[in-house]
Amino acid sequence: MTPLVLVAEDNFQAPGPSIFDFPPLYDGAPAWLTKPVVFALIGAILVCALAWSAFANPKLVPRGMQNIGEMGYQFVRDQVARPFLGKDAERWMPMLLSMFFLILLWNLFGVVPLIQIPVPSHIAFAIVFAVTVYVIKIYLGIKHQGLGGYFKNMMFPPGLPKPIYILLSPLELVSNLILAPFTHAVRLFANMFAGHMILAFFSAVGFWFLFEKLTPLGSGLGVVGVIMAIVMTGFEMFIQFLQAFLFTLLAAMYIGGSLHPEH
């Protein structure tokens, strides 16, 4: 299904960024109805369904899906929420857990056969989360520290020699208000984008040299491509998990920073 870039030529062409461009699902479909959109929605429904089967009727002694769900819950709570939010952790768990589960599943779509597209490899999906966190961060910062206090804490962290602030304050301002949300979104997007590109590349090598143009010389290269595709799929699963974790971690860090400024 993945539109490999197999142009009708004799030379192998590596897949480029155009593999992320999807046309509408069928002729005459609305322009927005593309594969990533469909799987974004399926992913959301799947997350809801899985979470429902785990948490809808939780038991004191967990069984089956509840065990798995609790593992996810406790992972987010103990590794993400509590270190950055302390006693506010429970209050922010709904958002962090939803975010983690949804991003994780969307990422994992990248290695599911036939789906094979990590949804956040389209930057819009990463931007949705990053903007949400950004808005919450600014709102909470101003609410808890006051408008002046928020910017003062952000730009003038205490305990530094005065001349340093000339350099540090503009940097902190730009870093917090512009770079942070940007990198927050781009980190997730770029990892998924690059990971998908790598998988597509090795798959294309294998497919090209073993099926399209099978030659004695090229077959070795094709085998290497297949092996690498398998190895990188495993690696990609790790990255997909890691990025979901990291994104949620940074979200908790930003929120925690707004709630309790460093003194």
């Binding site: 155009s18 927005w32 930057i123």
Partner: protein, 182 residues
Amino acid sequence: MTLAATVLAAEGAENPLIPHAYELVVGSFAFLVVFIVVGKILTPRIQKTLAERTEAIEGGIKKAEDAQAEAQRTLEQYRAQLAEARQEAARLREEAREQGAQIKAELREEAQAEARRIVEAAHTQIEADRQQALAQLRNEIGRLSTELASRIVGESLEDEARQRRIVDRFLDEIEARPEAVR
């Protein structure tokens, strides 16, 4: 589809950093749905369950601690009772020993008194015997003296040597008598 992709590729890929507006909308919608279902409906449930579990475990621990404390209390009670019993036994032993000693002392005193009584009785008996013997002796001596005197007078008092012989013989006779008084 592959054809369409190829066409797109030929036109040049879209800039991946420019978000599609419709994907922003769909992404926001998806996140909102997940947030409502997972975050707002399901997370409080599991939080409640986890809190209840913590409570249950803590309750169990508390119960176990109570049971242990109870056992400890009972043990101490038993120990106290045991110590009391030991003390009681020691006291009884001490009492018995004292009584034993007392009884022994009494018995000894009685025995001594009895011994003294026996010794006194013996003394009295001996004294009586002696008195009797003395009286008897006195009678005997008178009789013997009379006998001796009659012998001396009977024999002619010829010479001193004879007299001495007579006396010696008499004394020998006396000695030879079984009833001689020593």
